[in-house]
């Protein structure tokens, strides 16, 4: 009698499944070829490194959003959280290098705290996360404007900005490696490890069928809350990098939540939870960033940009969706 122990599937077959990373890899490859044709030196290590570095914040946000989405929820507050973090950092640091590290620590705590509140309100008060995080979005934006009287104050120290703006020079083979990229690599590795751990598998199970998870001893509320906390932490790290990269502004995080959700879905993760990989989500974000660069290189300029962006996203998702669906 055939049993499960019979054979393991080949890794190739694993990835073609719905929720796998193959479609997004294919799209990424196509875009890379297109960029390479137009701007061959983009693929040289230095410029590639700097591209990856500047994309790091968005990729981190996508990873954070992934945890929340795969557990069956939404986090619409990350964009405003990034803005709030950057503004808070500027005001607290007030250009004083000595305050850099305490403030970095504070930002991480702040991010985790916002995630915790999102998580607890969603799981314990049973407010749909769409509403919870939309409310949090309003609260954060309002509060940070209120606190800073409508215009960011103070300034970020050079030390703080280093994470997002500077690079480790003279690395063999690669040349400059942006610190942001190093941070990204570390966080991405942690995220992958986490998703392979018991917690990660449980998280996906919660998104798939919370009742079963509950009846199998999972503390569903805790698991989901942790996902929100992870998202908040990711937003904090992203804010540190983004603030470093571009400085203080109220626009720092604007629209990032939609970017992150789009990236996650593009990466094959199902909204509603239970399917998809964190690698896919991060690749989705990278693909989106590459798409923007591609448009810069091809001179898709001005107002037409959003049309091209919309068309490519639709096409990509439609092709991968119709190809992976079996009836």
């Amino acid at each position: 009698m055939p049993t499960v122990a019979r054979r393991a599937l080949s890794p190739i077959r694993l990835r073609v499944r719905p929720g796998g990373v193959l479609p997004i890899l294919a799209l990424l490859a196509v875009l890379l070829v297109l960029v390479g044709l137009r701007q061959p030196d983009f693929l040289d290590p230095p410029s590639l490194m700097s591209f990856l570095g500047r994309s790091a914040p968005v990729i981190l946000l996508a990873a954070g959003q992934y945890f929340v989405i795969v557990s069956g929820e939404f986090d619409l507050s990350v964009g405003s959280l990034v803005t709030a973090q950057v503004v808070v950092a500027a005001r607290l640091i007030d250009s004083d290098p000595a305050r850099t590290w305490p403030v970095v620590l504070l930002l991480l705590v702040f991010g985790a705290l916002v995630g915790l509140v999102n998580g607890l309100v969603t799981t314990r008060l049973r407010v749909p996360s769409f509403i919870t995080t939309l409310g949090m979005f309003l609260i954060l934006v309002g509060a940070v404007y209120l606190w800073s009287d409508g215009a960011p104050k103070g300034g970020l120290s050079e030390e703080f900005r280093r994470f997002g703006r500077r690079a480790s020079e003279d690395v063999p083979l690669l040349g400059r490696v942006p610190y942001a990229l190093l941070v990204l690599v570390v966080v991405a590795a942690l995220a992958v490890l986490l998703m392979r751990s018991d917690f990660g598998r449980t998280l996906v199970a919660v998104g798939d069928n919370p009742r079963t998870a509950q009846l199998s001893g999972v503390r569903v509320w805790r698991t989901r809350t942790v996902a929100f906390v992870l998202s908040g932490l990711a937003a904090a790290v992203a804010a540190i990098l983004l603030g470093g990269y571009s400085g203080v502004s109220f626009q720092a995080g604007a629209g990032l939540e939609f970017g992150a959700i789009t990236a996650v879905v593009l990466g094959g993760v199902a909204l509603g939870g239970g399917r998809g990989s964190v690698v896919g989500a991060m690749l989705g974000a990278l693909t989106l960033e590459l798409l923007f660069a591609l448009m810069n290189f091809y001179g898709v300029s001005g107002a037409l940009r959003s049309t091209v962006q919309g068309a490519i996203i639709l096409l990509a998702v439609a092709v991968s969706a119709t190809r992976s669906s079996s009836r």
Binding site: D41, P57, D149, G247, Q251, G299, V300
Partner: protein, 374 residues
């Protein structure tokens, strides 16, 4: 490509508003000429109070609005969603405070950038017994009916910043305008770079009238100077996006010889992008925000800062009170629109103020300075 500017793909693929191709439909030659003429006009009024100055004024009679004070002033505000409006509104509040005894109540409603909310707001204010109504419209055309309704209600209406397409308000207060702004910046940038050099135009958003006029005037200047506008990109006012765009353009063209912006919000980010790429910062224009002025001075940039002064937020209050006194006021009330150049940079750069403060606030004499603006 067959466009006058000869820009590569950048211009050819996009429609109105980009490249230096066809002029946008927002371009009105007569207004352009008038504004450029105003740049050189000498204002009337106290020289140390530009917010009370007028350019080529035509005075109108307001005696029918005369009323005994103190007055209740009502203000329908388009939005408070950017530092410019923040600084402006604080300046206005300070002006109200300065006029203390003459104003019994100052009602402020914020439309949060929504046309339809502002229409409702104005309607709402009409029921509140205001003595005068100040409106900063969110959009020119769409707010016109609401403003007309307010005029019909019989109270004096003062419009500032953006206009409305009706003559019914007692006066319309604003500085010279977008053509002047765009022209000053573009002329500076194109004159300081090599002929035929590459200019990158960084814009905030499409479809905002003030910003559109700035760009259309710049376009005229660039076309005249025969420089190559390699790209017209929208940044959404997001510094990160700005840096990415500049980065990619640098990679694509090797060098960029000039940067023009329709607003100063992301000027510092653009400068940083050049620094981070290890390239010299080309001639660039910003606005009178202090962060830009600071970088300008610290790094010795070749730069200029045309302004859209925030002191114009003081004038509507002054105008409203004059109207209620029955004094004549200018209509339109054109305010001077100074430019910050290398020569007068130090006068405006106040390191004690926050980075996003606008130097041209004309607020140093107002109660609560500088604390109110910090």
């Amino acid at each position: 490509t067959d466009e006058p500017g000869g820009g590569p793909a950048g211009g050819s693929t996009s429609a109105a508003g980009s490249g230096t191709g066809e002029q946008s439909k927002f371009f009105v030659q007569a207004d352009y000429d008038a504004e450029l003429a105003l740049l050189d006009a000498t204002p009337t009024g106290p020289a140390d109070k530009p917010w009370e100055q007028m350019l080529n004024p035509t005075m109108v009679d307001t005696s029918k609005f005369r009323k005994a004070g103190p007055h209740k002033l009502c203000f329908s505000n388009a939005a408070l969603n950017n530092p410019w409006r923040q600084v402006g509104f604080k300046t206005m509040q300070a002006e109200v405070a300065a006029q203390g005894s003459r104003i019994s109540e100052f009602v402020h409603v914020d439309a949060e950038g929504k046309d339809q909310k502002q229409i409702a707001d104005i309607n709402d204010l009409l029921g509140k017994g205001c003595d005068a109504l100040i409106v900063s419209p969110n959009t020119t055309a769409t707010l016109t009916p609401a403003v007309e309704a307010a005029c019909k209600a019989g109270l004096p209406v003062v419009v500032f910043d953006r206009g409305v397409s009706t003559k019914c308000p007692v006066t319309f207060v604003n500085p010279i305008g977008g053509y002047g702004f765009g022209h000053v910046g573009a002329e500076f940038v194109s004159q300081r770079m090599k002929p035929g050099g590459k200019v990158l135009a960084l814009r905030i958003l499409p479809g905002v009238d003030v910003l559109e006029t700035r760009w259309s005037a710049a376009k005229v200047a660039f076309d005249k100077a025969k420089v190559d506008v390699v790209g017209v990109e929208f940044t959404d006012g997001d510094p990160a996006k700005t840096k990415k765009i500049v980065d990619d353009y640098l990679q694509r063209y090797g060098t960029i010889d000039g940067v023009w912006m329709d607003a100063g919000a992301v000027a510092v980010a653009a400068v940083e992008a050049f620094q981070d790429a290890g390239k010299p910062v080309p001639p660039i224009n910003g606005e009178d925000q202090l962060d830009f002025l600071k970088v300008w001075k610290d790094k010795g940039l070749t730069a200029i800062a045309p302004t859209y002064p925030t002191y114009q937020w003081r004038t509507p209050v002054i105008a409203a009170l004059r109207i209620l006194d029955g004094q004549q006021v200018a209509n339109p009330w054109k305010l001077p629109q100074p430019t910050i150049t290398q020569d007068n940079l130090d006068r405006y750069l106040d390191p004690g103020m926050p980075p996003l403060h606008y130097a041209m606030c004309g607020c140093t004499d107002l109660p609560g300075y500088p604390q109110r603006w910090k």
